[in-house]
């Protein structure tokens, strides 16, 4: 790269040329896609499938945020519910909200893999936990309201 035969070249020319070579798109393309567990297999799918998978993931994230907000609000707002049951319900909601992003990511990765490899979509993960947990939390609050 250094050219001893051309010492009169202005010093600013080389960095500028180098900067032109490194277009952002090229840099991004040379970076392996993460996670490799998903992107190392299969073929590039129709982007609409990947987009739908992404939206499902985002819906899970919003569900997680709602569960967390509900759990914290239940305890912080000092509602007229039996304190023990209220705390139990709040902890249950927050635990579900903490579990949800993990399930969301796992489901996203498994689904993306299945889409890329052309396999049937995996069964949804964590529906039972979420449904049972939310029902139990609701029941705890209801009982706590009655027994207050």
């Amino acid at each position: 790269m250094p050219q001893p035969g051309r010492p009169d070249e202005p010093p600013a020319a080389r960095p500028a040329a180098h900067g032109d070579d490194r277009a952002p798109r090229t840099a991004e393309a040379s970076r392996p896609r993460f996670p490799a567990r998903v992107y190392a297999v299969g073929a590039e799918p129709d982007a609409r499938f990947s987009l739908a998978n992404e939206r499902t993931f985002l819906a899970w994230v919003r569900t997680a945020l709602a569960l967390l907000a509900g759990g914290v609000a239940l305890e912080a707002l000092d509602l007229p519910v039996l304190p023990g049951l209220r705390l139990a319900a709040a902890v249950l909601l927050v635990v579900l909200g903490t579990l949800a992003p993990v399930l969301a990511w796992w489901g996203w990765a498994r689904t993306e893999r299945a889409i890329r490899t052309g396999r049937p979509l995996p069964a949804p993960v964590g529906f039972a936990v979420l449904v049972v947990g939310a029902c139990v939390a609701g029941a705890l609050v209801l009982i706590g309201l009655v027994l207050r």
Binding site: P24, A47, L51, E54, L68, T98, A100, V102
Partner: protein, 109 residues
């Protein structure tokens, strides 16, 4: 891959989903700060600021991801993974706050 160009409704829906998620994060941070203000004082608003900043970043990265790479052939799952880990951390923080509230050790915060 027809229909996934700049006019694709799938892309639009996905962009809106990212925006809703960022809004939820921002709203949750402000609401959480308001709730915590009574127990930890004005320091709770640092949480609101952090949440708003995170929401802005999510919205911004999501937009860039979809505008510069509409077919998602290059970006991969980094943003998705970051958002999942971030939500997990928010959950753990909420659990800590909840237990602190319950045991009355909130003044320590």
């Amino acid at each position: 891959m027809s229909g996934v160009g700049t006019r694709s409704l799938a892309r639009e829906r996905t962009r809106l989903a990212w925006r809703r998620t960022a809004l939820g994060l921002a709203g949750g941070a402000v609401a959480g700060a308001r709730l915590l203000q009574d127990v930890v004082g004005p320091a709770a608003w640092l949480l609101a600021l952090a949440g708003l900043a995170a929401a802005l970043l999510v919205a911004r990265f999501a937009r860039r991801r979809h505008e510069s790479d509409p077919l998602l052939t290059q970006r991969g799952g980094r943003l998705v993974t970051t958002v999942a880990v971030g939500t997990l951390l928010v959950g753990i923080a909420a659990l800590v706050v909840l237990l602190a509230l319950a045991t009355g050790r909130v003044s320590v915060l």
